[in-house]
Each structure stands twice: as structure tokens, then as C-alpha cells.
Amino acid sequence: MSDVLGGFAVVLQPENLLYCLIGVVIGMLIGVLPGLGPAATIAVLLPLTFGLEPVTAIIMLAGIFYGAQYGGTITSVLLKLPGEASSVVTVFDGHALARQGRAGTALGIAAIGSFIGGTASIVALSVVAPFVAGFALGFGPPEYTMLALLGILLVATISQGGRVKALVAAVVGLLLATVGRDGFTGAERFTFENLALADGIDFVPVAMGLFGLGEILHSLEERHRALREPAPIADVWPSRADLRQAGGAIGRGSVLGFALGVLPGGGAVLSSMAAYALEKRRSKHPERFGNGAIEGVAAPETANNAAATSSFIPLLSLGIPANATMAVIFGALLIQGVAPGPQLVTEEPELFWGVVNSMYVGNVLLLIMSIPLVGLFVRILRVRPAVLAPITVLITLIGAYTVNNSVFDIGLVIAFGALGYLMRKAGFDPGPLVLAFVLGSLLESSLRRSLLIFDGDPTGFLTRPISGTLLVFLLFVALLPALQRLRPRRTRPENATAGTR
């Protein structure tokens, strides 16, 4: 306990408070810029930390990471440009709200949800870090196979419009995920001897093209037909009714985000999708989702912030970086002469608790900054489309370039932009394609690794407690619609009245 309090003493030193502020401000800014992610930013800023105390350096770098989660929401909501995979589902309802003139509500609820999710996750981290870390190690390739399958099943739940069209889009997404050098045999797949495709297609050009550029092209056409007034800006801050509506989603998002964020690899993405799907399934009016449901913003934004915080657990208590950003922070710690590992908490309590407790301060700072900024950012929507559209296109293309410093990726954004436009014209929702694409490589590599471990025997999935449980749950979710259809039609009239209300 004294170690925990000692951590607060570390955080409250003026220098550490200053670097915490610098970190979250940088994080928020790069979150707003689509493409430029926290991992690359932290790597570039590493030399600046050489002269700092280890705890100060890590407080700043951590601030960049969770600050970026706050900022990433802004472009998703306002411009339909998800900068990170974990913000994809925010696009659905966030942008719908913005078009209804409720962008401020969406951003406000996202900020509040992020704050609560982040803070709840820190509390949980302080209490259960050592126990949870051991549990996360039980998640190997077989468990990830099941999680990825579950995610793909959720794609169908998330999508709007026809089931068949969603399925077609998802299959295209899965196929796109197979492009690149086979990680198991080194064989080239659909690369056409182009080295730029050897590592497969990056997520960013796909999402930014299909959502961002596709949306711009589509809305330009709309405007030619009938001049549409820019959306009026009604509420800048969520009302009490909004907060009440989003409360449950924030609570569940916190728990889900914390739990999935601990898993090494892909935790934040899965958590935001799972939180969204959970809310839609629980809702009495699932048809509201995709058309501006406030829970549809609150749940994923809460979950991805909770996951961002809990992804520190494997790093700080096992010495295992859970994602690319954690890997860079791992490198930063090594440069500082601190080897993150199972003994960090006992050997460097000031560092451990200093960094953990700095996140409370950082989250408060982010919430305070968000309040005035929401009003400022929302004004972007007042800019005339003739001005806003070219600027957005420019930001999109620059953002795509910065991920790999690759001109090829710019071409990809344009190609996917055209595809996104055509899909919308034909009534296809690009959402399932992007989500299936994100999950596709996780599914393939985990499945193949599992089969190698099981020596080719698929019944191996049932012999492991966690993967077996997940498999049963998966079958339950998959068969649920069929089971419901078998039940007497008592629920039908209820739904009908709900729809007409």
C-alpha cells in the first residue's frame, strides 16, 4: 500500500506532471491526425527521453498512447475517418449522430466514456494486475482462433442492411486479408511480385479509403442532386437523458475493455467490436444502431480506452509487450536501463506505481481538455463542403502515407475509396468488409498455429478449457437466431410496436 502512495508522490512532482501533460497533448493531436499512430510517434520521440528519468520518460510515452485513444474518436465522428482499427465501429453511430447535428453529443459522450473506462481500468490494474497477467498467458493460438471466429460472427450482428450483402462484403474482407507473403511457408499470395504487397495490405488504407474517401465521393454526388445544408449543430454537450442512456454501455464497455485488453495482440480492436455488438444485442431497439444510437459511441470508446490501459499489464508485470506501441515502450525502458519483466513491481516500485498512477492524472487532464475542444472541433462541420472535402482528402492521403512512408499506400487509399463509393451505390455496407479484413489475418494465423500445435487434430480445440468454453459459447451465439425462430412467436408483436414508435 505504501508503494501505491509512493507512486502518487512520484506523479505529483512538478516535472512529472509537466511531462504527463506534454504526453497527453501530443497523444490527442496525433489521434486527431488519421494514420500517424502512437507507436510511430513514440519511436520518433524516443531520443528526447534519453535525458529524462525513466519514470518521467515512461509517464510521457504512456500519455501519448492513451491520449491518442481520446483523439482518434474525433475524426471518426466528424469525418468518418477511423485512424485506428479500434475506432472503426465508432464510425457507424458517431458519424450518423454528426449528420443529425449531434456531433457534440457524440464527442462528449466519447470523452466521458473514455475517462470512465480508462479510470476504471487503472483501478482494476492496481488491484488485480499480477493475477490477470497469469490468466492472459493461458490465451494461446487456439483461444485466439475462437476469439477471431466470434468476432467474425459479430460482424453479421453489427452490419446494417441485408444479411447476404453483409456476408458478401465480409468474404471480400477475408480474401483481402490473405494478400501477402504466407507467414508459414514464405510463399507469395496475390502479390503480383510487388514487394509493396509482400507484407499484405495495411489496415489504414483500407479503412480510410472505404470509409473516409468513399463517404466524401458519395456525399459529393448527393450534393449535386440536391444541395444539402450542412448539419446544424444542436447540442454541444450530452444531455442528462443521453448520459442515462449511455450509462449502462459505459459500465459494460469498461469491464469488457479491461478483460480483452489484457490479452496480448488485438485486444483493443476486439474489445471495441465486442462492446458494440453487446450493446446492440442487449438493446430493445437494435434498429437504432447505425442510425445514431448514443450507446453505439459510448460502448466502443469506453472499451478501447479501458483496453489501452489494461494492455500495460502484460508489459509491466510479465515483460511482454501486448501491441506495437507497448513494444516501443518496452524498447524505451531498456534504453533507460530498466528491463521490464516479472520482477519489475518489486524491484522498481516507484517506476511501476509512478506510471500507473500518472494515468489517473492524464485521464483527468484529457477530460478537462476535451470539454472546450469538443465545441471547437464540432465547428469543422460548419465549413462549406467545397472547402472541407478537399482538405479531408488531403489529410487522408497524407495520413495513409505516414504509416509506412509508402507512396503505394496512397494508391491503395484511392482504389479503396473508389470501391467504397461503388459499394455504397450498390447498397453494400463497407463495415463488414473492414471488420472481416482486420480479423482475417488473426483468424488465419491462429488457426494454422493451433493445428501445428495439435499436430493437425482439430479436436484439440475442445481439450483446452478456455478454447473449449469459447467454442461452446460460439456455437450458442451462432445457433441463437435459429433457436429463437423455433420458439413460439410471442416476442414478435413487441418488436413490431417498438419499430413503429
Binding site: V44, G183, A196, P264, G319, I320, G341
Partner: protein, 327 residues
């Protein structure tokens, strides 16, 4: 678009050179007397934050002082570094564009991919070697394995990817020891180590710096290192050669420039890097990351790497190992 930009840059440069070059000798620009005349680029074929990237940034920080020009690190990740190597090959051979060349790309990847995709180090001019990274074979303590001879059953082993040192070290070791072993490729060092910690695979070969903390905490057991001599960090763990196996595999890194760079410019760069190597900050960096300096000149390094490629090719043939066909 790039080619047009590049042409434009070249024209501007040529104009600048002729403009101020009146008082220089005929070969003033070619002999490198005024090198470097603008900012330099150091390409890295891996993601920001990895070992290779950190080495590049540590060096760039020092080298710029001696050269008197900024040195920018640019990440061009892709295909285990082949994307960046290809870009360097197309750059102007004037010493302003360099790369941190990972040795495994030159002497292990060619064993796993088709000849057309392989990168040939002799197609570049090497400025200097940098350092070597050792691999260590670690086991989950639950397996009870402490030495290679303890491994008395069929096992699964994690690798950091196809065509990596992690894969080659283990494929060679298990073939020589007659152990039936199935390779499970992961995507980099951290996920591979996680799989050992979680018991999803029995053993894995990773770079020493990556496993340092877990070994110290007793979460994984070191079995052998693939170093040339016992690393000071693990004095009680035998090397593979000491244990009786011919597995001389290291990760090695070097600075390279496009083929045809004037020798004077290569020498000027080498001087700058040697000053950087001598700095205390850089030496501390090596110690912390458990890197062994290998600051040899270009021809020596080329000899090391082409020798390694021949050795590995012979060993792979001898034990009938197919690096690409493990799955």
C-alpha cells in the same frame, strides 16, 4: 510521381553544384571533398521501435555531429527489410542515402524464398559492420528441459517467422540432435516468447535481449545460446558448439550504401561511424541491449556474411532442412 520529384531534385542539385562549383577541380563533387552537401537519410527496413530501428536512431544521433548535417531515420518496413534494400539499390550512389542492413536478410532469407525475391549483399557497398545479437534457446520450466539431451520426446518450437535466425538455429539444432520437432511460426520475438511462457510451445529461440528479464525471473529456462562464446550475461549456459552441435548463427547488422558510391565517400562515412562507435552513450546502449560490437570494415563484413550464407546453405542441404516447407 516519385521519379519526377527525384528528377527535379537532381536537376536542382546539379544547378546548385555547377553554380558554386566553378572554383572546384573537375572531380570536386566525385571525390567527396564537399561531402555531405545536404541532409542524409538512414533507411530502416523494420518498424519503428524494433532492435534495428533503435540501433539506427542511436547511431544517427551521433553520426550527424561528425558529418555536420542532419541524419534522418526513415522506416520503410516490409518483406523482412527487402523493401528498404530495394529502395536503396535504386538511390543515387552519392552517400546521402544509407541503410541499416540486417544480416539475416543477406544470409538466411535467401534459403527460404525464391532466388528472384532474395537480396544479394554483394549488390551494395558496405560502409561498416555494427554489432551482433545472440540467439538463446529457452524452454518453459514445466517441460523440465535444462539441456538439449533432456529433450526426449517430440516437441513443438516457436520461431519468430519464416527465414529468420530463430527458425534456422532451431531447425539445425534439432536436426543434428535427432529430435522430432514441429515449427510454429509467430510474428516477431514478443509473441514467440509469450507462447513459451504460456506453454503453447515447448521451446523457442529468441534474441538474448528479448528474453533477458524472463530468464532472470526464472520464467523460462535457458538451454543453449547460439553465440560464438558464452555471453557474459549467461556464464553458466553452454553455447551450442560447446554442447556438440554446429549451429553458428547470429543476427548481424551493417551500414550499406548503393553500389558504385565513390570510395572516398565510403571512407568518410566509415570515419563518422567509427567516432560514433567510440562514444560512451553508444557503448552503454550496446551493453544494455546485450549487443556484441562487430565494427569491422566493409570487405571483412562481406567476407563474414557471404561465408555465413555458404555455411548455412551447406548445413541446410546436409540435414535436408526446408525452411519454407515447415507447414
Amino acid at each position: 510521381m516519385t521519379s519526377r520529384l527525384r528528377a527535379l531534385t537532381a536537376t536542382v542539385l546539379a544547378l546548385a553544384l555547377t553554380g558554386c562549383g566553378g572554383n572546384l577541380g573537375d572531380d570536386g563533387a566525385a571525390d567527396g571533398a564537399d561531402f555531405p552537401d545536404r541532409a542524409l537519410t538512414l533507411l530502416v527496413g523494420q518498424d519503428a521501435g524494433g532492435s534495428t530501428d533503435l540501433i539506427a536512431r542511436a547511431l544517427a544521433d551521433q553520426v550527424k555531429n561528425d558529418l555536420g548535417r542532419p541524419v534522418t531515420v526513415q522506416n520503410r518496413p516490409g518483406a523482412n527489410g527487402a523493401v528498404a534494400a530495394k529502395e536503396l539499390a535504386a538511390a543515387k550512389p552519392d552517400g546521402h542515402t544509407m541503410i541499416v542492413f540486417p544480416g539475416t536478410l543477406a544470409y538466411i532469407t535467401p534459403l527460404a524464398v525464391t532466388p528472384a525475391e532474395a537480396v544479394d549483399i554483394t549488390g551494395y557497398d558496405v560502409v561498416t559492420g555494427i554489432s551482433q545479437d545472440d540467439f538463446v534457446l529457452v524452454a518453459n520450466p514445466g517441460t523440465g528441459f535444462r539441456t538439449v539431451t533432456d529433450i526426449d520426446r517430440a516437441i513443438t518450437y516457436g520461431t519468430t517467422g519464416v527465414g529468420t535466425g530463430s527458425q534456422l538455429t532451431q531447425a539445425l539444432l534439432f536436426a543434428q540432435a535427432g529430435i522430432k520437432a514441429t515449427a510454429v511460426p509467430f510474428d516477431g520475438g514478443a509473441p514467440t516468447l509469450t507462447a513459451v511462457l504460456g506453454g503453447q510451445v515447448d521451446v523457442a529461440s529468441v534474441q538474448l535481449g528479448e528474453a533477458q528479464a524472463q530468464i532472470k525471473a526464472g520464467k523460462v529456462t535457458p538451454i543453449v545460446t547460439f553465440a560464438q562464446k558464452r555471453p557474459s550475461y549467461l556464464p553458466d549456459t553452454p553455447t551450442a558448439v560447446e554442447a556438440g552441435y554446429t549451429v553458428p548463427v547470429q543476427q548481424s547488422r551493417a551500414i550499406a550504401v548503393p553500389k558504385g558510391t565513390p570510395p572516398q565517400i565510403v571512407d568518410r562515412l566509415r570515419t563518422a561511424f567509427q567516432k560514433a562507435f567510440a562514444g560512451q552513450a553508444y557503448r552503454d546502449f550496446n551493453t544494455q541491449r546485450l549487443l556484441t560490437p562487430n565494427e569491422v570494415d566493409g570487405p571483412t563484413l562481406l567476407g563474414q556474411w557471404t561465408g555465413s550464407l555458404q555455411t548455412y546453405r551447406a548445413l541446410v542441404d546436409q540435414y535436408d532442412i526446408n525452411l519454407a516447407g515447415t507447414a
